[in-house]
Amino acid sequence: MAEQTAGTPSPTTLRRAHFFMRLSRAWDSRFESMARAGNIGRWYSAVGNEATTVGAALSLLPNDALSTVHRDLGAILTHYLDPTRLAPALFEPQDRTAWDALRPDPGALLHRLASQVLGRRDGFTRGVDRSFHYGLIDRATGLRHVGMISHLGAMIPVAAGLALANLQDGNQNVVVGFIGEGATSQGDFHEALNMAGVMKLPLILVVENNRYAFSTPLHEQFACEKLSDRAPGYGIAGETFDGTDFEAVHGAFERALARARTGEGATLLEAMLPRMRGHAEGDGSYELIAADERARWLTHDPLPRFEAWLTRIGAADAARIAAVQETATAIIEAAVARGLATPEPELHEAWRNPFAPGPVADAFARQHAEVTRG
């Protein structure tokens, strides 16, 4: 691959991809070091997933929906942030898209995200739920993100429902959902993909196959050869690709998006990813993997691969690559520092009404709260 071929992502796409992959990696590095120092409870690293998560989210248009689980930071950053305002020195005027003009102030949004993941007052849930357990839906800015609950698999039917709403509205919007390969064993995976097939939903489900679920290896998780082999069983398209190869990711999404936007229906994508970290930092699951296997996966890092390719095709030189890395690190350092300086959530938030405003919420508020305090 010495030169750009037809179907190669545009220079703008490559600049964005590079920046967001590095931003995601910088975030992980920072949180991994906090986890090692015992400063945060748990951290599920997304190292190795970046080409897939960023590549997926880069393909989306305003009000396309993103349904994420626990290693999809790259997709969230890419969906939310206008990079031309966040890191102006790294981008050209033509890199600013019409959607960027709609997007909220990236600094403020990054602060909310950092506060959320750090469990601070300014987070999206203001202390009520952890890390990526929230959503952000705002038609005016085109952001349509639904995060996870702990129960893995439960969000796949929800993603199908987001897609159903697009069908009902007769628009061309699509939904990209993520799931780990372990959670494909859940019943909700089957129910949702079956519905997606029957209803021809504009849904792309991406399986992030990082070879393990906590400690469980692939051969104890499923007996088919490839997870995408299940797609024909649902009457949908399926593809397995190297999720560390940005070009492969981009190509797979272009095909899946074309299907989804033209009414051809859903696609099951299986991104093969390297196991570069354990399940959660410091939980002992990494050490269970044989040393030679660990060493082998570390050579499959999508980031050096992407940067080497950018260099080969002349899309970036060493100075630019260093600038992207330094800028990403500086942005994350500042965001985490600000997040850490943000106060804990306010206690009264715990008592907020569990019902949305209206007659039910009013009736709930009329009940005697003292019943739970003797």
């Binding site: 019902f355 209206g358 009329r366």
Partner: protein, 324 residues
Amino acid sequence: MAETTYLDAIRRALFEEMERDANVFVMGQDVAQFGGAFRVTKGLYERFGRLRVVNTPLCESGALGAALGAALVGKRPIVEMQFADFVSCGFNQIVNNIARTYYRWEQPVPFVLRLPFGGGAGAGPFHSQSPEAWFAHVPGLAVVAPSTPADALGMMKSAIRDDNPVVYLEHRFLYRREKESLGEGEQLTPLGKARVAREGRSITILSWSWTLHESLAAAEEVAREGISVEVIDLRTLVPLDEETVMASVKKCSKVLIVHEATATAGYGAELAARIADQAFEWLDGPVKRVTYADRSSPYNKHMEKALLPGREAIVAALRKLARY
């Protein structure tokens, strides 16, 4: 004026609300051309088409999760369980996903779960259950159970308009048996408000749905013996209208709770606890319950009837309470 059945009242509510708001849609198994197992959605498909009267495959969890997804982006889904008993297959979506979304990240989930429930039809252990307590226990779900056609209409309309998940229990036995003439035009029953179904002085019955009717019949019977019974139709179980309940309890000073669900950890236990807490000084006797026996519902009709909390059991309990 022609009388409307409880079932037709529900259908009228669906029809009117779907006419009023294009975001309202119905989803479930066999709900489209066929009109659902009980024909509640009959005729909706012809009027609103397949994108608003959505047949799903045979899946509860998938359909409920999809309803959540659609609700998050502005739709107002109404999901029909073919029988309330099958809701167990979609339990996680309701209790962990749908119920907890608003509290966690403040995105409203306008959603109605239709549960055709209840016994009396000799339908056995898996087509007879009364599952309200499963859902009453979960913060973030409203739970309602109308007993009359007027409330079936008015509460369905209010449930559809509310921005919260509402579990709507509709009793199969009442579908075609309960009839009344309903006026034209908009009829809304507020959620969170109980109804005094019969005024009385010496014993309060708290009930809802089918057992409300049994309670009224029992109250009528003991009235001839000089026992004056007030019957409260709770209508909304969560959030509870404590004001109406406690006012009646304080007036009558004796309480009988009647529900079709089994006793242990049933919703009646919650009522009894709240009464003990908030009206202890006013009580002149123990808070009693008449409920289903703590058993699965037997298939044989006579056996089922033996376990059901019918009017004879209620009359006996009222007489016992009257002696305090």
